[in-house]
Structure formats: C-alpha cells, structure tokens
C-alpha cells in the first residue's frame, strides 16, 4: 500500500531540492531564485504526484511559485477531493 506524506512547506522544499540539486528555502521562487526550467517543473509535478497523490498542472509552475505556495496548493486540492 502506498503511503502519502503531509504536504508541508518543509516537505515540499525537500522535494524541490531533490530535483534541483541545490538547497531550497520554503519561500524561494522556482524560476527567479532557483533558476528552474520546464523539465525540472515536469519532474517536480511527477514527484508531487508520487509523494502526495495530487497532480498539479504544469502551468502552475509558469507563474511565480514557492515550495510554501506549492504545498498550500496541494493541500487545497486534497481538501477539494483530489484524493490519493
């Protein structure tokens, strides 16, 4: 059985860090602070689905996005019924 972890800002920053290979703060912006690109966004979307059971739209990463905002988005989607 798959277990999902809680989407806290800290957990989300660890997910981003694993993909981007640099230290990630909870309020770092994906493009401006972390120099993210579209493929890294795709990889994070995949990791988020695997860990939290929520599929974020890729387009979410094309606006300013931080781990904190990303975690809140996952939390909201879970509350709205997008269950793992």
């Amino acid at each position: 059985m798959t277990t999902f972890i809680e989407p806290t800002p800290w957990a989300m920053s660890r997910v981003w860090q694993a993909v981007l290979g640099v230290e990630v703060g909870e309020d770092d912006d994906f493009f401006d602070d972390l120099s993210g690109d579209s493929l890294r966004a795709v990889e994070i979307v995949d990791s988020v689905f695997e860990l939290f059971g929520v599929e974020l739209p890729l387009q979410r990463f094309l606006d300013p996005l931080t781990p904190r905002a990303c975690a809140a988005d996952v939390e909201r989607r879970l509350a709205n019924g997008q269950q793992p």
Partner: protein
C-alpha cells in the same frame, strides 16, 4: 496580440551602428558558462534590474551562474550591436498581460530578434532577423532521474515518444516553438502542440514543423540537434516563405569578452 514592441521605439537613441545581420539567417550560440571562471562573469555589465535580482539570490552558486549567463548574453548582444554589454537595452513584455517586468525579452529599437534559454551551466542564444524561439534541455546523469523525466514528459506531452532522446527532442522543439511568439508553455501546453520531424536534415540539425491552434503563428518550422551528449537544443521561427538558415556556434564563455566568436 503579443509583444508588439510599442513601448520601445522612444528608448532607442539612434546612435548605434546598424547591425549587419544577414537576412534569413538565424545564428545559434551555445555557451558553456562556468560560474567560477572570473573572466566569464562581469557584475558591472548587469542592468539595475539584474543587479536587484542578483542581490535577492540566497544560493551563491545560482547567483554566480546568473551573473555568468547574463554576462554572456550581454556580451553576445553587445557584440552584434557594437555597444558595451552594460549598454544593451533589454526589455520585456508579457504576451498575456503586456507587463514589462516579465515575458519574452527583446531589444529596445528591435535591431534584431533574439531568444535565450538556459539549462544548468549552459546558455543558448538565437539571433535572427525574424521572431525566433530557442530552448536547450538536458536529461541529467542519474538513471533514476532520466527515467522519471522521460515518464513525466510522455505523460505531459508525447505518450508515443519511442526513446528517451526522442521524448527530449520533442519537448525541446515544443518549448522553442512556444517561445517564438513569447506565449511560452503558459498559453500552449505541450500536449496541445504537434511536432512532426521532417525527413530532411540540415547538416547535424533535424528539421521539424510545429502546429497548434493555440499559437498565433499558423505553422512554425525549426530544427533540433544534440549539441553534446544528453543535451538537445532546438530553434524555431514562424514559417513565412523561406526558412531562416541556422548557423550554429559553440562558444567558450571567456571568448565572448573579446568578440572573437563573430
């Protein structure tokens, strides 16, 4: 619709030498930027806005990479315009909202069109007489990461991509195509773009066409190549009569300071 450059004409001082760019030629430069090579970084070349962005970085490596990439871009554009890197007036305009703080970059005065992309420590720049888009992507070295990326690209864009390199080529081509107008993948999700490789090659470049109802240009033509192992670069432009010929250069970042690449 899109970045029509209406705000920039008054900012052009009119004193620059007109660049002698061949018509219907797209020049692609791929630059390896070593953030720790002192000759490749020049903080003084950055604009005020770039200086502010630099000050906001908390990660020292990313900050140096940012300076290296902006230095390289400004040296390239300054070399073509025949002005100092710091004097290159780069503007932005959002395709969707028209705001000048984000969106596709362009030159004040629009002496020529350019597009820029980066991936890790590589920078790719395309310079053309017509609107152009460029993208550069790499898969990464770790097998687990490569597998994850390929699975994700297939899910988001091309389920039928046969190999990991094919998936990367299609993705890079789509992103380059979406950058011609400046819409980016915001307006044109990768699944909505259809990239068809052509049988013709142009040297080491594989030609493709990209079609989508979501892009303002009916048809976009481009070319992709593998510029180093695991790294794909793609360049695209609207098909309007003859296609621009791609001239590609691999340039060490330190040679940009002298303009020797031209």
């Amino acid at each position: 619709m899109g970045c029509d450059g209406a705000i920039d004409s008054q900012e052009h001082d009119g004193t620059r030498r007109a660049p002698a760019l061949p018509r219907l030629t797209t020049t692609v430069l791929v630059v390896g930027v070593d953030p720790f090579d002192a000759s490749a970084v020049d903080t003084a070349a950055l604009s005020e806005a770039e200086q502010r962005r630099l000050a906001a970085f908390s990660n020292a490596h990313l900050a140096r990479r940012f300076v290296g990439q902006r230095t390289a871009l400004r040296r390239i554009l300054g070399g073509v315009l025949n002005v100092a890197p710091a004097e290159v007036a780069i503007r932005r305009k959002c395709y969707l909202c028209g705001h000048p703080t984000h969106g596709k970059p362009y030159l004040a005065g629009r002496e020529f069109e350019f597009s820029v992309a980066h991936s890790a420590d590589r920078l790719a720049v395309a310079i053309s007489s017509r609107p152009v888009g460029i993208d550069i992507e790499y898969l990464g070295a770790r097998p687990s990461q490569r597998q994850r990326l390929v699975r994700a690209m297939r899910h988001q864009a091309d389920p039928e991509a046969a190999t990991e390199m094919h998936a990367l080529q299609l993705w890079t081509a789509k992103e380059a195509a979406s950058k011609v107008s400046g819409s980016g993948l915001v307006k044109a999700p990768p699944r909505a773009l259809l990239v068809t490789p052509e049988t013709a090659w142009s040297g080491a470049w594989r030609r493709f066409v990209c079609t989508s109802d979501l892009l303002p240009d009916a048809d976009i033509g481009g070319e992709w190549t593998q510029c180093s192992p695991g790294v794909v670069v793609a360049v695209a432009a609207a098909i309007d009569g003859e296609r621009p010929k791609v001239r590609a250069l691999h340039v060490p970042a330190r040679s940009l300071a002298t303009g020797a690449w031209r």
